[in-house]
Symmetry: C2
Subunit: 359 residues, 2 copies
């Protein structure tokens, strides 16, 4: 017999992407930044005062909030630090959604949204993304009709990498009656020439909560550090009530602060990822795949019909120690999601793909 | 207007103890271990491979689970790592308690139990601790009558430090119809001569979940690392479903593993804390206070009636840069909770107390 709640027992739970650790693997399956974290972060790690391990960490990560607010042109009251972006997703759901009430999402997108919503006992309403992976038509009206207390979207979209404009987001946030959680886990990789900036909407939309993460943009997935940005009325109940009281450890706070202060170093990796993104996309298109333009650090490649199936390509790549992501979802069964690697990793991927698709 | 749920809006939230950071402060208010973490942990910190920051951490902290299981004579399936003990408290509540159903606690104890229970929408039933701070009479029967899905107790008890025997715990777990969460955050400081060992009950009680923490025993409060021990049927739903999918970062995993492997070093601090506990208790009793025998790293001192009030002593100490904890709770208004410090810190506390109580 089990003691867990019925909602928990019947939820399948989230399945993490494979995390192989053996050397020689080309790991393009969980969207890590292929470049190492900046040197200042490693130096900060070596400089950690043992005393900061012995004592409880600053409970509100105020030093980090100060720096993040400065960078984004907001006030510290608009910022909260979380133990990885997943924590903010959970906090938004538990803080703003009553059990039984509606959480709106777009499908496909990050699988965890639905899992977290169902674990909370929320009613998760998934609306299919448009054929170009942009927002579905009348999305705000649909959400309002369902009385969604929270709507979660990821931009650039995952798993396609397609960017919704901040103009469209402004309209969405303004029309929505509930909270809009905008997951910008990949926003660092948007080409600056697109002029995208959703954070400027925080001042005019009291229902807009933006999630940022250091996992991808700052090459710190192992550190578990993200942050939320939004009106004080959204941040405060999570910061002072629903959050675990010391949610972010002292090492993570110090390293995250250092990473943000040394943003220029991370910015160089964003540029390199964008360059490789363009090159890899062209190569995949050359191989007969359909690949939407991505503003993220991954590409969604649709395999040519009639040739080798996507699942087969995925397995063949894994046999050759190259890991990409395959999703068993109706709209994705002929797709592969491929994280942008280093030049060498991408070269190897392209070579192997050529061989596999030949055969 | 606020977007947060009514339950959240009306909950006051948990208030952390003060965390002053200025040098010269004698900080005896949040039960940190006064001795630094062991050298091997600091060396492990300096040896962190930047690659382990770039990548996602091992999702289940399997290496840590293996070592912890070995130390406690259990299997890895009986262990899960959490981002500080608070996370396990929250997970137990969200996993085992339906909103509206009962969570049983003893009062006073750790204030967070009630806060987390209420945030979840649970019905928190607090039963007053016996006059000697042990379990209330007929506690199991009371909990069963209330149909408690989860009962949370801390042993050694906080804030008194009094130890309930494992025999009494065995009876409680056996009689309870719901889950028993036994918070052993302070168990490392129990005198070995007491022969206390509640972990051996895990094999026979499928409803017993034990919380351990590295915050106190291992001088790692800043790292946020705890772990849960229990039957696989209790651990699994939290490990694979309700837990955030990468809840413990790579640095914390490595340092926690190192700390456990170098337990002998921590054990020396436990011994020193016990010695100082005895000495400080005797000194407080000499000052006319009533101080129950504590098996924890703090003492609960009841100030002599008619003399200076406990709140006044607390404030006077703070004026002299010595921080202890005062709780505005009916049974605690004439008490102070004092963490055991180093010899020098305890000496200074005793000197200042003498002065304050004179006046």
């Amino acid at each position: 017999m089990g003691y867990e709640r019925k909602e928990i027992a019947r939820t399948p739970g989230y399945k993490q992407g494979k995390q192989p650790t053996d050397a020689g693997v080309v790991k393009l399956n969980t969207n890590e930044n292929p470049f190492p974290p900046c040197r200042a972060v490693i130096e900060a790690l070596h400089d950690i005062d043992p005393e900061s391990l012995r004592r409880y960490p600053p409970p509100f990560a105020d030093a980090f909030r100060e720096v993040a607010a400065g960078i984004h042109g907001l006030r510290p009251e608009n910022v909260m630090a979380v133990n990885g972006g997943d924590e903010l997703l959970r906090l938004a759901i538990t803080t703003f959604v009553d059990p039984g009430r509606t959480i709106g999402i777009i499908e496909p997108s990050y699988l965890l949204y639905r899992v977290l919503g169902e674990l909370h006992g929320g009613r998760v309403v998934g609306v299919e993304a448009a054929s170009d992976w942009l927002l579905p038509r009348d999305f705000a009206a649909m959400m309002n009709r369902e009385k969604a207390q929270l709507t979660i979207i990821v931009n650039p979209h995952a798993p396609s990498g397609v960017l919704t404009s901040d103009v469209a987001l402004a309209e969405l946030a303004t029309r929505l009656e509930g909270v809009l959680l905008l997951d910008e886990a990949y926003a660092d990789f948007v080409d600056p020439s697109r002029g995208y900036n959703a954070l400027k909407l925080i001042d005019r939309c009291d229902n807009l909560l933006v999630l940022r993460s250091l996992s991808k943009g700052y090459s710190l997935a192992g550190l578990r550090f993200g942050y939320g940005l939004g009106a004080q009325g959204l941040i405060e109940p999570m910061l002072t009530k629903t959050r675990d009281s010391y949610n972010v450890d002292a090492v993570a706070q110090k390293l995250a602060l250092t990473a943000l202060k040394n943003r220029d170093s991370a910015r160089e990796t964003w540029k390199k990822v964008r360059e490789e993104r363009g090159r890899l996309r062209a190569a995949l298109i050359d191989l007969g795949m359909l690949v939407p333009e991505s503003e993220s650090n991954f590409l969604l490649a649709q395999i040519k019909p009639g040739a080798v199936s996507a699942r087969r390509v995925y397995q063949e790549l894994e046999n050759r120690r190259i890991f990409v992501r395959y999703f068993d979802h109706p709209r994705l069964r002929d797709h592969l999601r491929i994280s942008i690697g280093t030049v060498e990793q991408n070269d190897r991927l392209i070579e192997e793909l050529k061989e596999i698709l030949k055969g």
